[in-house]
């Protein structure tokens, strides 16, 4: 089933008097429960594409539908609500809230965005803390965690609202190779167990191999699409 459908997306930025064409006519279709990688050199448009899918930005032209919603037409508040309900984010720098513990960071979207009842919140948070193997660290603050642990918290936070799609912008860039593989494996496991679509951008060719579909971008265009036959394999 199609989850994300982008047709002929263009995104231009104005940098002073210079116009930058970040995306030039991207057309993609991503199905539910996919594990998608977007690769390409710096400036190829990976982050821009993820920002558009994540409703953080709007395309200059073209159409974009996420989970059946034409996200181009959403206003600021609608986009916020849509993100809270449908999209999870994993950031390169983890972006955990430093004043909240591991448990509270994961609970945050349920509390502030999802407004889940207390029992439901606790059940979901505990289940994800167990899934990312952070039970012993649940009362620690982010500055007491390693990079890998922080990213696992970020994954749990992204998944706690059961989003349809999780966007991860270079999630392993600040991690060592071993930890990066571990993080990708957790994401892959979550994708299988929860049926969530993961889209992540990366430079790391070795990490890319875990993806079912690989979009290669260059100069704002799709240069190559590499799809594995067995996407769970």
């Amino acid at each position: 089933m199609t989850l994300i459908k982008a047709e002929n997306i263009h995104k231009d930025y104005q940098l002073g008097e210079v116009s930058i064409h970040a995306l030039r006519g991207i057309t993609i279709e991503i199905t539910t429960a996919s594990f998608v990688s977007v690769i390409g050199p710096s400036g190829s448009g990976k982050t821009t594409l993820l920002n558009l899918i994540g409703c953080l930005d709007k395309p200059t032209s073209g159409s974009l539908t996420v989970a059946g919603t034409d996200v181009v037409k959403l206003d600021r508040k609608q986009a916020s609500l849509f993100r809270g309900a449908n999209i999870g984010f994993i950031f390169q720098d983890f972006n955990l809230l430093p004043v909240l513990t591991v448990y509270e960071n994961i609970e945050y979207p349920l509390l502030m965005v999802y407004k889940a009842p207390s029992k439901e919140r606790k059940r979901r948070v505990i289940s994800l803390i167990e899934a990312v193997d952070l039970v012993d660290q649940k009362n620690r603050f982010p500055d007491q965690l390693s990079g890998g642990q922080k990213q696992r918290v970020a994954i749990a936070r992204a998944l706690v609202t059961n989003p349809k799609v999780v966007l991860a912008d270079e999630p392993t860039a600040n991690l060592d190779h071993e930890t990066a593989f571990a993080i990708i494996n957790i994401m892959k496991r979550m994708q299988r167990e929860l049926g969530t679509t993961f889209i992540f951008s990366t430079h790391d060719q070795k990490i890319v191999s875990a993806a079912d579909i690989i979009y290669t971008l260059e100069d704002g265009k799709i240069k190559n699409i590499d799809a594995k036959e067995d996407k769970n394999g």
Partner: protein
């Protein structure tokens, strides 16, 4: 809401030194205003009480037009016969009035048989007068406080200047309403301390003596001084009584009486207003301290946490909630400053009262400064600080809530 408070408080504790400095600044401001209001309020209350309870009364009623000519103490503008009966009937109907005192006021010459000087006399029924201005007997610094027929209470200035002491015989000469002059001997009952300063030349005699001296036909009254049961209801009551008195018309269909509160009769009201004005400016300074310090801290807080704002906005936190987080931070700092400031202020006022600081007011020496704590002022100061704190954090909070998540996430 609990989660928003938890996040806000933890964010404040994250920058402990900065938060502590800001809260301390607000606390110092609150303490300063608190102590100033307590002392100035007590001083003002004492001053008003000295004026009203020893001389003026809370309100005064005169015949229409009397106050405009009050400097000459015009006998031809005294209330007479029917007007007195009608006025006393109205006053007796008012449950708010504790007591009232009819007075005859006139000017005369005071002689000790060797020297003569001018004097202003207030003729009273002592029992009614002492109920209406209860501090008057306390002003008798020498001699007897009981004013009987044939007795006179004379001002300290005159007694000293003319070397008169209690028990001495003196003569008062006055011109009556027809222009004829009459004199009467009096026995000096007591010496009065002036309520208004060294220039006071006001003496007291019995009203029946005044009638004899002035050869009055029937009862005549210059003014009625009124004391209320609750001074706090002065404004409300004066309006009520004014409306009631407006219904009392003379034969020409014009109002017979005029009513004035102490504020309109005493120049000390301007001092009271000055105290209020100074208090207002002190409060304004507190507002400025809170406004600038909170706004400064919140602007810094927003700037330092732009990426965090971007993160919570990206994961779906609505702008209103982001605004709330920062407004609550300002609220918490204001609340803490107000709370600690009020506690410290109460302690400081308690210490001031323990020290029993003395001061002089007019002729009165060695008055003890008694700083009062006014609950209403505590509430006003606290609410002002909290509201200003919230207002000061609104602009930075609004800016935070309007940040584009994509730009905020890119912020370095």
């Amino acid at each position: 809401m609990g989660s928003l408070f938890k996040i806000a408080i933890r964010n404040l504790l994250r920058y402990k030194r900065r938060t502590l400095l800001t809260v301390s600044l607000i606390t110092v401001g609150v303490v300063f205003v608190f102590v100033f209001v307590s002392i100035s309020g007590s001083f003002k209350k004492m001053m008003i009480s000295q004026i009203t309870d020893s001389m003026l009364g809370h309100l005064q009623v005169h015949r229409k037009g009397y106050v405009a000519s009050i400097e000459t103490l015009p006998l031809n503008l005294n209330l007479k016969g029917d007007a007195i009966n009608r006025l006393e009937k109205v006053l007796n109907e008012q449950p708010e009035i504790e007591s009232y005192s009819p007075r005859v006021k006139f000017g005369g010459l005071f002689s000790n048989f060797a020297e003569t000087s001018s004097i202003r006399l207030t003729a009273i029924y002592p029992e009614q007068e002492f109920k209406t201005v209860p501090l008057l007997p306390a002003r008798v610094i020498e001699g007897n406080k009981d004013l009987k027929l044939g007795g006179i209470l004379i001002p300290e200035l005159l007694a000293r200047g003319m070397k008169v002491k209690p028990g001495d015989t003196v003569v008062v000469v006055a011109t009556n309403v027809d222009g004829s002059v009459n004199g009467k001997q009096f026995n000096v009952t007591g010496i009065l301390e002036s309520a208004t300063g060294p220039g006071g030349r006001d003496g007291y005699i019995h009203i029946d003596d005044a009638r004899e001296l002035l050869r009055m036909d029937g009862k005549q009254i210059s003014e009625y001084a009124i004391r209320l049961k609750d001074f706090g209801k002065l404004t409300i009551f004066s309006k009520k009584l004014e409306q009631r008195l407006a219904k009392e018309l003379n034969k020409q269909g014009k109002p017979m009486f005029e009513l004035h509160t102490w504020e309109k009769l005493s120049p000390f009201f301007n001092i009271a207003r000055m105290i209020d004005l100074m208090t207002f400016f002190i409060k304004l300074m507190l507002v400025a301290i809170v406004l600038i310090s909170i706004m400064n801290v919140m602007i810094m807080a927003v700037y330092e946490r732009i990426r965090e704002i971007g993160t919570i906005a990206a994961i779906g936190t609505l702008p209103g909630k982001i605004l709330s987080i920062f407004v609550i931070e300002g609220f918490c700092m204001g609340m803490a400053g107000a709370l600690i400031g009020n506690i410290a202020g109460i302690v400081l006022v308690y210490i001031i009262n323990l020290l029993k600081i003395s001061y002089n007011f007019g002729q009165q020496k060695g008055l003890i400064l008694h700083a009062n704590i006014y609950i209403i002022e505590i509430l006003v100061i606290s609410v002002t600080v909290i509201i200003v704190s919230v207002i000061a954090s609104l602009q930075p909070a609004f800016k935070a809530s309007r940040l584009e998540p994509i730009k905020a996430l890119r912020h370095v």
